[in-house]
């Protein structure tokens, strides 16, 4: 009997697997209880995005993506995690603030949100020359789940990691819809991320000095 959904081909399959792994690492961040583990997962996710960029560069012959892959490798896999880890070492906090929900409920909520993202993007009917459409759905799902991560976790580091991984989702989406996006724009995005790292670093430091913890539960007053 003929298969109902024909296999997408080896290149698309590999690309999709990488995109799925990006989404899974987002879910793993949602579950991770240790701040260090979250940061490591972020580094792994960034690595996957870089590898995917390199795969697209190789498979679809877009050489400027190699530059992007190398830049994001240097910045998001090495520099950002290193900076945040250093901050964490100074604050001596290891365990992330507990989520508002239990782990299982968090995952189920995130699954619902991710499926919504899939439904929404499937309506667009975007056909991309660089990557299969599934990758776009996965990218939007990554963005949606990182919002869940920022909403349900109650500590500064998780929220920062959520924000950084949001950027990973955006670069994944840009690989699908605009693989040939001018390099200068991509670089601008990456420096945007650097600014965010600085801002979150200051936030972590100030908040830790005032509240002696990284939890945002103490932020109940408008003025300290």
């Amino acid at each position: 009997m003929a298969p109902t959904v024909t296999p997408p081909g080896t290149y698309a399959g590999v690309a999709n697997v990488l995109a799925v792994l990006v989404l899974l690492s987002e879910f793993a961040m949602l579950r991770a209880a240790l701040l260090r583990a979250q940061m490591r997962l972020y580094a792994a996710q960034s690595l996957l995005v870089s590898v995917l960029a390199a795969v697209v560069a190789w498979g679809r012959d877009v050489p400027e993506l190699y530059v992007l892959a190398a830049l994001s490798l240097a910045l998001k896999v090495v520099v950002v995690p290193w900076v945040v880890m250093r901050q964490l070492r100074q604050t001596r906090t290891e365990i992330a603030g507990s989520g508002v929900l239990g782990v299982a409920s968090e995952v189920l909520v995130a699954v619902v949100v991710a499926v919504l993202a899939f439904f929404a993007t499937s309506r667009f009917h975007i056909a991309s020359p660089a990557l299969p459409t599934t990758a776009l759905g996965l990218a939007v799902a990554v963005i949606a789940v990182s919002f869940v991560l920022m909403i349900v976790r109650r500590d500064v580091v998780s929220q920062a990691v959520g924000f950084f991984s949001l950027e990973n989702g955006v670069s994944l989406a840009s690989l699908v819809v605009a693989a040939g996006l001018p390099l200068i724009l991509e670089v601008a995005f990456l420096f945007d991320l650097l600014v965010a790292v600085v801002v979150f670093g200051v936030l972590m430091r100030v908040h830790h000095r005032r509240a002696r913890s990284l939890s945002t539960e103490h932020l109940t007053k408008l003025r300290g």
């Binding site: 296999p7 997408p8 299982a104």
Partner: protein, 317 residues
């Protein structure tokens, strides 16, 4: 040429005879990983022989159900190997009796019979075990359903033989994310169903680490032997489902020659031992969870299975 009914019978016999041995291999690997010497690989067979030689004791006030359940469960475990590709890559005559859902239902029936026998005894401990197994079994059902949906979307049928053939057909099929996600989800369910992670300890007698084991506490003698044998068969059946349908459907007999069938039996044993070793490594690498953390574990499996269907449904993953 081996006649088809004989191959059919050989499928059942292979599972029946090899199942305790696979458990022995896993126990041995596990012991090695923990720095112990471990029991002989044939130890499960000696245990069964010992139990078959013992007398049968029946608790007061139990009806015939108590003794019928182990036999019924064994019959169920003997039926399932007819429905899945154990030795051959081509359909056998009785392979059309039931699809992948039918096989799942027969496995569920076996577990139900054992649970009924446990509640029949009136012993609180056995009843507690039965109710726990049924409760937590219910939350793995959705995962299995989504895995079956994936199979249905990929092959257009729900025949295990069809999926195995599709996987063999092309390399595109192996790297597509839906297939990998469904296989990973199924592996998690198998780890759970065979009592590896997240909570059960396999060899200890710590009551929180026992879900399956406590159900058979009131049984003795040959009937206990049947139940033990049945649970090893269930393990091997699930392994075969994972190996021969999802991950490595190679090495099956392509025709009815004696050599091909014999090689298929050897390949099956080898693959099951490898998978058993992998399972033992996984089992010993992760810490056991508290009982009520089972939902977290199942939520992860559910996530994988749902993503498998999503990638297929929205974009042909």
């Amino acid at each position: 040429m081996v006649p088809e009914p004989l191959i059919q019978a050989l499928q059942m016999l292979t599972v029946l005879c090899a199942a305790p041995g696979i458990s022995g291999v896993i126990a041995r690997v596990e012991a090695r990983l923990q720095g112990r010497r471990g029991p002989r690989i044939l130890q499960p067979y000696y245990d069964l022989r010992k139990l078959f030689a013992k007398e049968t004791l029946v608790p007061h006030g139990t009806s015939w159900v108590f003794l019928a359940a182990p036999v019924g469960a064994m019959a169920c475990y003997l039926t399932v190997p007819m429905l899945i590709p154990v030795l051959t890559s081509f359909d056998l005559p009785l392979g059309d009796m039931g699809d992948i859902l039918g096989g799942g239902m027969i496995l569920g029936l076996a577990s139900f019979l054992v649970a009924v026998a446990a509640t029949e005894t009136g012993a609180p401990y056995a009843q507690l075990g039965a109710s726990r197994v049924k409760t937590f079994g219910a939350i793995t059902e959705p995962v299995m359903l989504f895995v079956f949906f994936t199979v249905a979307l990929v092959t257009g049928t729900d025949k295990p033989y069809a999926l195995a053939a599709t996987v063999r057909a092309s390399s595109e099929q192996i790297v597509r994310p839906a297939h990998l996600l469904a296989a990973a989800g199924l592996l998690l369910v198998i780890l759970y169903e065979t009592g590896r992670i997240p909570v059960e300890t396999h060899s200890g007698t710590n009551e929180f680490g026992m879900l399956e084991e406590v159900r058979v506490f009131e049984h003795s003698g040959p009937f206990l032997a049947l139940l033990r044998w049945g649970s090893t068969m269930k393990q091997l059946i699930l392994y075969i489902l994972f190996i021969n349908v999802f991950v490595a459907p190679w090495g099956l007999a392509g025709d009815r020659s004696l050599l091909a069938v014999a090689l298929a039996i050897l390949a099956l044993l080898g693959k099951s031992c490898v998978l058993g070793g992998v399972v033992a490594v996984i089992d010993n690498t992760f810490a056991k969870l508290r009982l009520f953390k089972i939902t977290e574990f199942v939520a992860a499996a559910f996530l994988l299975a749902v993503l498998a269907v999503c990638t297929l449904y929205f974009g042909g993953g």
